[in-house]
Structure formats: C-alpha cells, structure tokens
C-alpha cells in the first residue's frame, strides 16, 4: 500500500505525464524532475483532469465508450473521482494501477454495478449511467467479473446458453462461434463447469460474455490466478477476439503484458486518472515503469 504522500506525488506528476504529442525527451525531462517543474497542487483532481485533457490526441476519433467526470463508489463510499475514459470502436484499452486504485470499480461502474454519483457514461452515444446491468447488457456490452464468473453447477453448454438468456432462441451459430475460438469448451460441452481448471473457467467466462456478440467486452483481471504459460495463452485469445472487431476494456494486475498488447492504457491512482497514453509509450515511460511496473 502506498502512502498518502506518494499518491499525491503521483497525481502531481500526472500533470506533466506522457502524451502522444510530447517528445520522448520532454517526457523524460518532465517525469524525472516532477517536483522541480510542477508545483505541488493541493487538489489532486485538478492535476488529473489536466492529464486527461493533454492526452486528447491519444483518444480515438469517435468513442464507443465515453466516460466523463465519473464519480462512483459503493454505498456512500466514493472510490472514483472525475474519471475520464474512452474506448474507440474495436479498440483495446487497458487500465492498470496499484492495488486499491479503483480499476475494477471503473469497470463495474460502466456495467451499472456500483453506486453512481455523478458524471456521464455514454455508450454508442447513448447515456448508460444509472442503468441496471440487465439493461446495459442490451446495449451491447459484455462483462466478465474477476471471481465467481461461471455457473459451477451448470454444464459448459448451459453456461453459454445463459449468456444469451435475453434472446428468445438459443443462438446455435453463436455457440459454434465461441466453440471455434475456445475448442476446449466444445470438448467439455456437457461437463459440469465447476469441475474445470482455472484457465478453462476463464475461457468459459469469456465465452459466456461473448454469446451476445457484444461491441465492447469488459474483462476484470482475466489472468488472475492463472499459471504463467496460461497467462500468455489467455492474452493471445483476447488479442484474437479484439482483432475480430470487439472492443476490449481490460483491468490487469499483469501490467507489463497488458500494456504491451493494448492500443491504449490508463494508469489509475487513488481513484483518479494519472496517466493515459498508448500502451507502448506508457511501458517505456520511466516514471510509470518505476512507480507501477516494478522498474
């Protein structure tokens, strides 16, 4: 757990954080001597808002998902403050950050699973903040929770059928589509989902979320609890799904891997935006590396 002072410092640095326009040298410069160049800003929110704005160039031209000034939390407890986030059509976006930064909360808020406290969330230009998950699913967003993301007592096939519950008919072609992407699920079609391994469960959870052929797939730590070789495989599969046109918004603990593969990354600190840039740029940014990627 980082100290309060550390967090504030990180927020301040964010004011001069990397953007697409800034040259590599300037970035190094500004992030190596953050306190020298940037006055300490008492209100961290101001600094983070600045960070997001200065990164406009990195934003997609038209956002599929557009989050602005989002405040959200659980019950009365506010976790997120003024969070901005964009996902373009077919884009692959990752949110990284320290533990407790509110990464999963952003994702849950998009899916209507937190207490909405302010700001806007638009999906395909339709406001979706304040809607319930069962309404949001109709808009074309699929969500894979981090834990307990399959129905253990149901068979693999039944899990997929549940993924398409809102349709009148079981979409056989979509089940085939999922089976083609995750052949192990076809093999295990009649097996009880609870008896499968961690990697297979994760595939089933993704398969279930893909049953409605969503435009945006929300993945909450898809690599959590997987063996290292399975992590690679999981990321490869996510790449493939993204290449076929589904936009992906992913929260990852495995930040290096995730940033290497994504189009754009957000670093979230203390419930606020700290950095936003192309994945590789974040990965190469010394300050981000030092603070969030373990050197």
């Amino acid at each position: 757990m980082r100290s309060e002072a550390d967090r504030r410092e990180a927020s301040n640095r964010a004011g001069s954080g990397p953007t697409r326009e800034a040259s590599e040298d300037e970035q190094r410069e500004s992030s190596t001597h953050p306190t020298a160049e940037t006055p300490v800003v008492a209100d961290g929110g101001t600094a983070t808002a600045g960070a997001t704005r200065s990164a406009d160039a990195a934003l997609p031209e038209e956002s599929l998902l557009r989050v602005r000034d989002l405040d959200a939390g659980y019950g009365d407890l506010q976790i997120l403050t003024d969070v901005d986030l964009d996902v373009g059509d077919g884009e692959y976006v990752t949110i990284v950050g320290p533990n407790g930064a509110g990464k999963s909360t952003v994702m849950k808020s998009v899916f209507g699973l937190t207490s909405y406290m302010g700001g806007t969330i638009e999906f395909a230009e339709t406001p979706i903040h304040g809607l319930q998950p069962d309404e949001i699913i109709h808009e074309g967003i699929g969500y894979v929770p981090q834990n307990d993301n399959i129905f253990e007592s149901l068979s693999v096939r039944e899990n997929l059928e549940m993924g398409a519950y809102i349709l009148d008919e079981v979409p056989e072609d979509q089940i085939e589509w999922v089976y083609d992407r995750f052949p192990i699920l076809r093999e295990r079609s009649d097996q009880r989902a609870g008896t499968m391994s961690g990697g297979q469960r994760q595939m089933l959870a993704m398969g279930r979320a893909l049953m409605l052929d969503p435009d945006l797939l929300l993945l909450d730590e898809p690599s959590a609890g997987l063996a290292p070789d399975l992590v690679q495989e999981m990321f490869d599969r996510i790449d493939r799904i993204n290449e076929e046109g589904t936009a992906v918004l992913m929260v990852e603990q495995n930040a290096k891997q995730a940033l290497r593969r994504c189009d754009r990354g957000y670093v979230l600190v203390n419930g606020e935006n700290a950095y936003v840039d192309e994945g590789d740029a974040l990965l190469n940014d010394e300050q981000v590396r030092k603070d969030f990627l373990g050197g």
Binding site: I137, D148, F151, S153, L154, E161, M162, Y165, V170
Partner: protein, 365 residues
C-alpha cells in the same frame, strides 16, 4: 491398498470419529435382527415388512413433495421459509372446499360444504374413485390457490425485505406462518374433519395378501409425476436452467441478464404449487385434516430437506423418502409413539457422516 494402510485408516477412523463406528454397529445389529425376526416363525412376516416400506414411501413422497418447494425457495431466496407448512395447509383447505362443493352441490347446503363443515363423509361419498372429477379439480385449485397465496405474500412481505439477511426473512416467515394458521383457524374452525369416504376406496390387492390403498396409489403416482416434471423443468427448459443458475450464483445471474425477479416469481409458483398439491394429496391419503397439520408436518419436511442437503431438490425428494421409511420401519422395534424420534435419529446419524446433507453442493441440480 496395503493391509497396513487399511489398518492405519481404520485406526484413524476409530480415534477421530468413534461416532461413525457406533452408528455402523447399530445399523449392522438392526439389519441382523431384522433377518432374525423374519426367519423366526410367528415373527415379522415379509408382508408386514413390505407394508412398512410402502407406508414409508407414501409418507416419504408426501414429505418430499412439500420439501421440494422449501428447498427451492431456500436455494434461490436464501432463507428457510417457516411459513411453508402453512402453505401446505392453506392449499389443502382451498382444494378440499372446492372438492366438497363439486361433490355435494345440490345435496347439501353450499355454505356448509364451502367451509368443509359438518357433513357425513359417508353421505357425501368423496373419493378418487367415486368422485374423480371433484378430486382432480380440487387438486388443481389447491395448487393454484397456494401459488396465488405465495405470490401475494412474496409481494407484500418478502420482496420489500429481499436484501435483508436470511435471519430477518426467517423471522418474517414465522409471522407469516402464524398469520396463515390462525386465519384458517378462524375461517374453518379447530376441529379435525374427515374428508373422504373410506368405504368407496378399494384396496388394490398385490401378491401374498399384501394390498395397498387406492388413495395411497394416487398419492404415489401423482407425487412421482410432479417430481419428474420438476426435474425436466429444471434440466431442460430455459427457465429451469435460469433457476439453477440463480441458485448457483445470483450476482452472475444478474450480470448475465437473467431477470432475477422473474425467476423468484417462478420459484414461488413452483414451490407454492407443489406445497398446495402436496397438502391436498396428504389430506386425501389420510382422509382427514385440521388447521395445523402442515405446521406439524413442517418439522419432518425440514428434517427431510436438511438430510438431503438444503437447497437441493433431489436431496429433498430423497430425504423425504428416507425420513418416511425410517419412520415406518422403526415400528419393527419401537412403539409407534417413537416413530418420529426414529426419523430424527436417522437424520442426525446421516449428518454425522455428511454434515451438509447427502446432496450437498449439488444446488438445485
């Protein structure tokens, strides 16, 4: 497995769980004694034993039928509904009022019939064989009335409390139980009333001088058919799968787009329908009922459901039959006053081996 390993395992079992050994010993002794009693001339006859088993099956299926609803509501709504026994009674009274009206219309005073009042059951002559239409309609009304009742109670009492803990709901359900029981008491009175004309129910003779009552057969056939229907509903229909999904993981069900409130409603429809139908059939088989027979039965229903593993409907079916048979087979050794004790003893013994019940972890599947 090597001998030494077996020995070690055996020793571990004796030291760590002596109760298991004691129970196994008692079961073995009883089994031996049963063989001895049958072998002894003038002792227990095979016909008697088969009779006990059949009685146990009849009682067990009626308990199981009511238990399925209890287990379903437990697994999907996460609370033990103490009102369930009085749902059984309510269904029975609603159904029998209609059965009597149909059977006795024109012959007797309508109000007396409707309140299942003082009419000679001999003169009325109700039975599944003499007045099949009245019985079938009564059964349907019993199920329908209990469905309506459980939906109304859910809307008024349980739904506003949906997010409260299981204990709050449980206590609310005790209130519901009392309200229902004494409403029936006020409307229908306290006395135990005869319902059917025993004379018009033929005994169906089976080999070796063993016969079964017609109403018993009716109960067994209908109960088995209803349980099979529930099985197919849960395994093959979209709604049934959604019920299992919700029992399994409610949060994920919501995220998946399963309309959870609708699933809850259907759970009450099925659980309530089975409770009402079960109550009607139990009264048919016994030929009599009073305002608290469901409440008295609830203890056995809970025993069956816990024995089978609360939350599992197959556990409820199996637990019901086990409890029923334990109760009747205990008559071989014990006076009838102790049959309920025997049933509970079996439940406790099973829980020693499997603390979560026989079908634990197979939630509604």
């Amino acid at each position: 497995m090597g001998i030494s390993e077996t020995y070690t395992r055996g020793r571990d079992l004796v030291t760590s769980r002596p109760s298991v050994l004691i129970v196994a010993g008692i079961v073995a002794l009883l089994a031996l004694d049963l063989v001895r009693q049958i072998a002894t001339p003038g002792g227990l006859s095979t016909t008697q034993l088969v009779g006990y088993l059949w009685d146990g099956l009849v009682v067990g299926l009626s308990i199981g039928l009511a238990g399925v609803g209890l287990s379903m509501t437990y697994s999907i709504l996460n609370f033990a509904n103490f009102g369930h026994g009085d749902y059984v009674t309510s269904g029975a009274f609603a159904g029998w009022a209609v059965t009597w009206v149909i059977a006795g219309a024109g012959q007797f005073d309508l109000t007396t019939l409707l309140f299942i009042g003082s009419v000679s059951t001999r003169d009325l002559g109700v039975s599944a064989f003499a007045t099949p239409l009245a019985i079938v309609v009564g059964l349907l009304v019993a199920a329908a009335a209990t469905i309506v009742l459980s939906l109304v109670i859910d809307r008024l009492v349980y739904r506003p409390m949906r997010d409260e803990g299981g204990i709050s709901l449980l206590i609310a359900s005790i209130g519901v139980a009392l309200a229902l029981r004494y409403t029936i008491y006020i409307v229908f009175g306290q006395r135990t009333r005869g319902l059917t004309d025993a004379q018009s129910v033929p005994d169906i003779a089976i080999a070796g001088g063993f016969g079964v009552g017609g109403h018993e057969v009716a109960l067994v056939v209908i109960a088995a058919a209803l349980m099979l229907s529930v099985h197919f509903l849960l395994q093959t229909t979209k709604l049934g799968k959604a019920m299992r999904a919700m029992a399994d993981n409610e949060d994920l069900a919501r995220v998946t787009g399963i309309p959870t409130e609708r699933v809850v409603r259907f759970t009450w429809i099925i659980g309530g329908g089975l409770a009402g139908a079960g109550g009607f059939l139990i009264a048919l088989e016994r030929g009599a009922m009073n305002f608290q027979f469901g409440w008295v039965l609830l203890l056995l229903i809970f025993a069956a459901v816990i024995l089978g593993g609360i939350g599992s409907i197959y556990g409820a079916m199996f637990g019901g039959i086990t409890i029923g048979i334990a109760q009747s087979i205990s008559l071989v050794w014990l006076p009838s006053e102790f049959s309920t004790v025997a049933a509970f003893a079996v439940m406790i013994f099973v829980l020693l081996f499997k603390p979560d019940g026989l079908f634990s972890g197979v939630t509604t599947a």
